[in-house]
């Protein structure tokens, strides 16, 4: 390795260390930190973000990149070296435009916004959160102003999470998707509903936790390199390729959601754990984008965890764990219940058929806020009107409406659409997997997941962030992100469940 590349990797490793330390501060904040620690934690996160930013946009890294790009101009286009340089350049050119003071201000504002949001949501009082969200929108607009004009200002925010993706492309995908999902939902609503009362009974939290752990273990989650804790809002985070942690929660009024939450986060974690070990402490470690990440979590949660073969294996064990709740329930009824389609208020609990509509609503609001066409003060009203329009349900209060998601309190606009894109990618990948591993359903029916994990590891996980998201999807499936397979999947699955 060239001496300059070695030096660059040393500097990037230090930046990675700071970012990992900041990630641990965040993990602790959401799992174990006592309330008294909140103010200091905001300062610590601000200081670490700023130092990490300053270290990364240093003149030394800029010069090394210039020199190394010349040195590696003739390297293999897919070599790790060239890809590391390309990704670092992308991130550098972005971050170098952002003043250090902005980074620190962003951390302080969002730390306070998070606290305000927690209070606002618990009291369902949007007024508490409003000034903080206004500040967040203003910060995001300022962020956009650091960059040369794009096709759309929202492109700059989107690119933070989904390298290379354009607002117009997402809108085109959503425009194709929306009418077909709405049509399906209406068809389902026209017929008889499935029964799911037995899912809402009195389930023991500890037993549900143990069942979740058993599933994660069989999926292949390595407990020597990870752990599960409780958090109000489940998430996955990591401090190394070899320390990737998940969180889950137990909801009294939706006890089985813990299972799907754990499967979802395990999907994220398996992706991070699967990175090429040579990428440790470089920007190549970890998922290439949020959409590809979400394709992994949704695959394990839905394509695996809400499939019939999966429950052919697990339902007898579930009955054993919860005999009073589902002892008298048969597998087809259970399968239907966990796949019940019903327009509802809360995104994270939405079924597969309605989920993307929640995302579309958020994308429109975010674009409006960034453009300045939607005022924060009007958000609750617009939110409720759109919920009525898209899903036919209206939140009884803002806690179940505009205040439900944590994301805006963290300062992130530009993030939500990746959730829907992840759903699409998951089915595109799944089709490819079934070609390569045709007996996968039988494997799942036998509680075996090595075939699936092995395929994902080889084609997705091991590459980390080496390939751009659309490039990766195209390399693996032969086409860019495309809604058609997802729509077919939904139609087929729910036609069978609802006898359409």
């Amino acid at each position: 390795m060239s001496e300059k590349l070695e030096r660059l990797k040393t500097l990037l490793a230090e930046v990675a260390d700071l970012n990992y330390a900041a990630a641990l501060l965040g993990w602790d904040q959401q799992t174990y930190m006592p309330p008294g620690g909140a103010e200091a934690r905001g300062n610590q996160l601000a200081t670490l973000s700023r130092f990490s930013h300053d270290k990364f946009v240093s003149d030394e890294i800029g010069t090394l990149l210039d020199d190394l790009e010349k040195e590696y101009a003739g390297a293999q286009p897919d070599s790790d070296e060239l890809r590391l340089l390309r990704l670092t350049r992308h991130n550098y050119d972005q971050q170098v435009r952002v003043p250090s003071e902005f980074v620190a201000e962003f951390a302080v504002v969002t730390s306070k916004a998070f606290e305000a949001w927690v209070e606002a949501r618990s009291t369902s009082d949007f007024a508490i959160f409003r000034p903080h969200l206004e500040k967040v929108v203003e910060l995001n607009q300022r962020f956009v102003s650091f960059f040369p004009p794009a096709d759309h200002p929202y492109d700059i925010l989107l690119d933070q999470f989904e390298r290379g993706m354009k607002t117009a492309e997402v809108q085109a995908i959503f425009d194709e998707l929306r009418p077909q999902q709405v049509e399906l939902i209406q068809a389902i609503a026209a017929g008889p509903q499935v029964e799911d009362a037995f899912l809402l009974g009195d389930y023991d939290e500890k037993k549900m936790w143990d069942f979740s752990v058993q599933i994660a273990t069989q999926f292949g989650y390595d407990w020597e390199r990870g752990r599960q804790d409780k958090a109000a809002h489940p998430f996955t985070t990591n401090f190394s390729i070899n320390d990737v942690r998940i969180t889950t929660r137990f909801e009294e009024d939706k006890p089985t959601s813990m299972l799907f939450s754990t499967m979802h986060e395990t999907g994220h974690a398996l992706y991070e754990l699967g990175s090429n070990q040579a990428y440790e402490r470089t920007p190549l470690a970890g998922g290439t984008s949020l959409a590809v990440h979400e394709s992994q979590s949704r695959m394990w949660e839905n394509l695996v965890g809400r499939s019939l073969p999966f429950w052919e294996y697990f339902f007898p064990k579930f009955k054993e764990a919860f005999p009073t709740q589902v002892g008298q329930v048969d597998l087809p009824s259970f399968y239907k219940a966990i796949n019940k389609v019903e327009p509802s208020l809360i995104r994270v609990n939405a079924d597969e058929a309605t989920y993307n509509l929640h995302i579309m609503l958020r994308l429109e609001l975010e674009i409006g806020m960034v453009e300045g066409n939607v005022q924060v003060k009007d958000l609750p009203e617009i939110w409720n009107a759109k919920m009525d329009e898209y899903l036919g349900v209206v939140p009884p209060n803002d806690a179940k409406g505009v205040l439900q998601d944590i994301h805006w309190s963290g300062g992130t606009l530009g993030y939500f659409s990746t959730y829907a894109l992840g759903n699409l990618i998951s089915v595109q990948l799944w089709k490819q997997i079934l070609k390569d591993v045709p007996n996968l359903p039988d494997q799942i029916r036998a509680g075996k997941f090595e075939g699936l994990l092995g395929w994902l590891h080889e084609h997705i996980h091991v590459h980390g962030a080496k390939f751009e998201p659309q490039e990766l999807v195209e390399r693996v499936t032969g086409s860019r992100i495309n809604p058609a397979p997802y729509v077919s999947y939904l139609r087929e699955k729910f036609s069978e469940i609802y006898g359409l």
Copy 2:
């Protein structure tokens, strides 16, 4: 406040943020981190230590100190401003001598040494730890070499933990203490032993945990600003004046040790929590030295937690929690059992009468290693010989001998004597408290600790690190650290228990 002082405080706050982040990395390493995270954690700690060091010894801080010392030359000697400058100057003059590479190397070496020690102790194989300890000794000798010659090279290490303390002074104190403690132990050994079999029975861990929590709560530990977790080696750490966490452990073969461990760590935590809030993110926050810190932990553990008034209040509750274990035991027998004096192998489980001898042994070995008169390879043999000489017991293996303590694996030489000094200070303070709050035993008998905590807060805690340790002890008790009160306390307490 002068603009320059404000700037200095901003810079010190950033250093504090980095140090607090490093402390969280350490807390997590000892509580929740999965094994896979170990290697990355070492790197993260090394990077953060180095950055914190570099930030602190910057030219800007040096110049600010020079300027501010002139500006505040006429300030009140006890003003916070002057004391902040004095402490910062002390730390700056120390750290500026230490090269940044040394700090990072130290973090990497000790991270590996910690892992090696864990393995060495679990297999009782000193050979695994030996090369790492040799490296630690070499690093400490190198550290000493950065400083101008002191009266004794060990002074430089000691000063790290106990500002202003000299090796000769500690040796003089220990020389006075040793024969008197040995005499007491021999007198006790000559008579009949107390019965403590009922302490070694089958106690439920969860119930013991709950009882510990109840005690900590009554002591005044604020759970909104702290929490308790399990760790292999109990410790207290903090990430703010308002986020101070304790850890404890359950030992199957010594179940009640959890109570005393929690009381001990609560004592440390109350000290940190009590700092003047104005000191947040400055070097004035937190305890002034390890010895004064230990005076707090040992006071709550021993002077309170192993006293008769304390158990007059708590023993009925303890009986209620553990009826099969102590239902038939009376208070005097219980009190004697928890104060049983018996020369034993493990320092942290040693009784009050023998504890300091464990410390003296370690001090002699450390001085020998720093001088180069004791070779690491000879440590096990010397350890065992000294244990025999001082306490009349010989470890059956190195896990119960030279490998028992975590400290050397963390790179810290110069630390141990503060434990014994803390014992002495705790009794000096106690005498003063009894003068100021004469009905304290009655308060404790009624389960009331506000009087004690209030006194400690006013005279010790609130001052943080403002006063030098010996200065603080003298301000509060009228004399410097002095072994006589401790010896009287031991004689009186154990003469009564053992009928000497």
